[in-house]
């Protein structure tokens, strides 16, 4: 799937940061993954293992801060876990629900030396 191209995008950004800051090695890449980003964190980690070889991030790990998938009720405001996906509000029974979350996939920071 497209986790491989995302892993390549991550590596491109890491290389651009290296050109700017001039570090030797990356130890950790911290990512923020939005609840609606369509990313499978495990697939992304695997894909990254394939692209990090022979780079400044060859030993880098990926640390993922995954946003929880939450649904709120538009009628009573109750909040519930979106997975597997309630069709009605647990408190008031309304089917007028709202899935919250961001579509973003961001590199937050790098731990380097």
């Amino acid at each position: 799937m497209h986790e491989l191209s995302l892993a390549q995008n991550i590596m491109e950004i890491v290389e651009a940061e290296r050109a700017e800051h001039g570090f030797e090695r990356v130890h950790e890449i911290r990512l923020k993954v939005g609840a609606l980003s369509g990313i499978d964190p495990q697939a992304l980690e695997l894909a990254f293992e394939a692209v990090r070889e022979d780079t400044c991030a060859a030993e880098a790990t990926i640390e993922i801060d995954a946003e929880p998938r939450v649904v709120t009720c538009r009628r009573c405001g109750a909040t519930m876990d979106a997975d597997p996906g309630p069709v009605a509000c647990g408190s008031c029974g309304s089917t007028d629900l709202d899935l919250q979350g961001s579509t973003g996939l961001d590199i937050v920071s790098l731990e380097v030396d």
Partner: protein, 219 residues
């Protein structure tokens, strides 16, 4: 050891190219609609119906994404549309760069409407901005009414949902109200049109929606 703050979107390169595409579309007054769906929900069929309704009064260009083959573009040429096929050779979504490459040599001002048929996949394409003005998710009754719950990403980013193959509703255990609640769970107030490409029912409403978007792009 040092900590370097980055705060950059992993998709920033795609977003930059999408912004350039959007600039070109805007300059040409071209309305661009990106169509997302699972495989087989009826995107190409809906485009064939659209051709029958609109090709005599609107100048329509289609960019058709497929993993392999030129089949869909061929179908659309037979229906009387100009169509460009993109074969992604494995990639599960169209990217802004793929669109930029195709439109590089096209005189965009020669068209009123560019319809992009994305790769059949409800997850990945929803995260790739192509520079479109509007995004449509095409669902079909044969997929089951729980798809918006299972794959909310496409619905969340859509401006319109088309529920196709409604001619089959009498034969399927498909709960339209549950489907609509699921779609609007992902996106508040999402407009939903029901269509059938076999009976042509609802296609006129879809074409009116397209007309409205074309007018908005010209303004």
């Amino acid at each position: 050891m040092a900590d370097i703050p980055v705060r950059k979107s992993v998709r920033s390169r795609n977003d930059e190219i999408a912004a350039e595409n959007r600039g070109r579309f805007r300059e040409a007054g071209l309305c661009v609609v990106n169509m997302l769906s699972s495989p087989g929900s009826g995107k190409t069929s809906l485009l064939e119906r659209t051709a029958a309704h609109m090709k005599d009064r609107l100048r329509i260009l289609v960019i058709d994404g497929d993993v392999e083959t030129e089949r869909d573009a061929d179908r659309l040429r037979k229906a009387g549309l100009e169509a460009i096929q993109i074969q992604t050779h494995g990639s599960c979504h169209l990217s802004a760069a793929m669109i930029a490459e195709q439109i590089a040599t096209v005189d965009l001002s020669a068209y009123d409407l560019l319809l992009i048929e994305n790769i059949g996949n409800l997850v990945c394409p929803s995260n790739y901005d192509l520079g479109e003005a509007r995004r449509v998710v095409v669902a079909s009754t044969t997929e089951g009414d729980d798809k918006p719950i299972k794959y909310p990403e496409a619905y969340h980013t859509a401006d319109l949902c088309v529920l196709n193959k409604v001619d089959l509703l009498p034969y399927l255990p498909f709960d339209v109200a549950a489907f609509e609640a699921g779609a609007r769970r992902a996106k508040a107030g999402l407009p939903i049109l029901q269509t059938s490409c076999t009976t042509d029912s609802g296609v006129d409403a879809w074409c009116r929606w397209l007309d409205d978007q074309v007018r908005a792009a010209e303004a």
